[in-house]
C-alpha cells in the first residue's frame, strides 16, 4: 500500500516536471515568435504573410509587401535539396504560364556560405523568378522552416491561403497557385 502511494507520488512529480518544462519552453518559443511577428503552428492559413526584405542574387531589393496585388508563391529551398530540384523546373513553367495573370514566384534559398553558389545554380537551371538567399531571419518568420521544400501560397492581399511542407505533385502545386490567384 505504502509502496503504491510512493510510486504514484513519484510518477506525478516526474510528469508534472515534464509538463512544466515542456510548456515553459513552448511559451518561450511562442513569445519569441510573437516578438518577431512569426507564424505559429496551426495559425498559418488566413494569416498575413510576414513581410521581409532581402537582396536577390542578381542584386535587386526584394520586399514581399511590394508584391501586394500579385499572387505570390514563396518557396523555401536549397541547392542540396533533391526534392527542391524536382519542383524548380515546374515553377519556371508556371512563372511563364501564369505570370501575365499576376503570379510571382519567389525562391528563398536556405544555403549557407554566400550567394555565389546559389547564383550559379539559378543561372544553370534558368530560373525566371526572383531568388534570394535567406539571412537567417525569413525562415524564422515563417515558423522555423526546417523541411525543404516548404511553400507558402499568398493571395493578392498578402494573406496565406495554403502552405505545403515537402514536395507535392505538380498538379497539387498548380491547384494551390490557382487558389492564390483567384482570391
Amino acid at each position: 500500500m505504502k509502496k503504491s502511494v510512493a510510486i504514484l507520488g513519484f510518477s506525478i512529480v516526474v510528469i508534472a516536471v515534464m509538463l512544466f518544462i515542456g510548456s515553459n519552453i513552448a511559451r518561450k518559443h511562442q513569445a519569441e515568435a510573437r516578438r518577431i511577428g512569426a507564424l505559429l503552428p496551426g495559425q498559418v492559413i488566413g494569416r498575413q504573410a510576414p513581410d521581409f526584405t532581402l537582396t536577390t542574387v542578381d542584386g535587386k531589393t526584394l520586399k514581399l509587401s511590394d508584391l501586394r496585388g500579385k499572387a505570390v508563391v514563396l518557396n523555401f529551398w536549397a541547392t542540396w535539396c533533391s526534392p527542391c530540384r524536382v519542383e524548380i523546373p515546374w515553377f519556371v513553367d508556371f512563372q511563364k504560364q501564369y505570370g501575365a495573370q499576376g503570379l510571382q514566384i519567389v525562391g528563398i534559398s536556405e544555403d549557407e556560405g554566400g550567394k555565389d553558389k546559389v547564383a550559379q545554380f539559378v543561372k544553370e537551371m534558368g530560373l525566371n523568378y526572383d531568388v534570394a538567399v535567406d539571412d537567417a531571419s525569413v525562415y524564422m518568420k515563417y515558423g522555423d522552416v526546417e523541411d525543404l521544400p516548404t511553400t507558402f501560397y499568398i493571395d493578392r492581399d498578402g494573406k496565406i491561403v495554403q502552405f505545403a511542407m515537402g514536395l507535392l505533385d505538380r498538379s497539387e502545386i498548380e491547384h494551390n497557385m490557382k487558389v492564390a490567384l483567384a482570391q
Binding site: 504514484l8 542540396w80 533533391s82 527542391c84 530540384r85 526546417e146 511542407m165 514536395l167
Partner: protein
C-alpha cells in the same frame, strides 16, 4: 479499486499530456545517432582500428561520403584526438544506390539504417599509459521521401586505452644436459 489500479490509471492519464508537452521538441531531434562505442585498446607504438556505428532513423536517409552530385552534402566524420594520439585513415562504407519517390529515375548514394565508419588510431611520441578521450562529430544532411532537412551533426566520443606493449618473453638459459640431483 485497489491502489495499484489507481496508480496505473493516474499514470496512463497523465503520461500522454507530458508526452504532448515534449512533442514539439522531440520532432526536431536529429535523425542520426551513434550507437554504443567500446573503448579502443591501443599499445604504445602500434596502430588499432576503431569502428563507429551510426543509425539513421527509419524513413530517413543521409548522403554517403561520396554522393552522386557535387551539389549534395556528404556525410563526414571529424575527430579531434588529444595530443600524442593520431586518428586518421577514416574509411566510409560505399553508399547504397537508391531511388526515391521525389525522383524515381535518379539514383542517390545514401546510407540508411546502420552504417559504420572506421578510423585508425596510433600513438605519437612518448605518450603515457592511460585512458584518452577522443571527441568529434559526424556531419550529415538527411532527407526523407518528400523533404530534406538542414545539415546537422551528431557528437562522437570514445576512449582509447593506451597500454605498454607486452614484455618480450625471457629466453631460458641454455639447459645443462646434465641432470643435477
Amino acid at each position: 479499486m485497489k491502489m495499484a489500479a489507481w496508480v496505473t490509471l493516474g499514470i496512463a492519464l497523465l503520461l500522454p499530456c507530458a508526452g504532448w508537452a515534449q512533442a514539439d521538441f522531440a520532432a526536431k531531434q536529429p535523425s542520426v545517432k551513434i550507437l554504443n562505442v567500446e573503448s579502443l585498446p591501443l599499445q604504445k607504438g602500434k596502430a588499432a582500428s576503431v569502428k563507429l556505428t551510426f543509425r539513421v532513423a527509419p524513413g530517413f536517409h543521409v548522403n554517403s561520403n561520396h554522393p552522386n552530385s557535387e551539389m549534395l552534402i556528404p556525410t563526414v566524420l571529424k575527430l579531434d584526438p588529444p595530443t600524442d594520439l593520431s586518428l586518421g585513415n577514416i574509411q566510409y562504407p560505399d553508399g547504397q544506390q537508391l531511388s526515391f519517390p521525389f525522383a524515381p529515375d535518379e539514383k542517390l548514394s545514401v546510407y540508411t539504417g546502420d552504417f559504420a565508419v572506421s578510423a585508425t588510431a596510433r600513438t605519437v611520441g612518448s605518450i603515457r599509459v592511460g585512458t584518452y578521450r577522443v571527441h568529434g562529430e559526424l556531419k550529415y544532411q538527411a532527407c526523407d521521401d518528400h523533404a530534406c532537412y538542414p545539415p546537422k551533426s551528431v557528437p562522437v566520443a570514445f576512449d582509447v586505452n593506451v597500454a605498454n606493449p607486452p614484455k618480450a618473453p625471457k629466453h631460458n638459459p641454455a639447459q645443462s644436459p646434465n641432470v643435477h640431483n
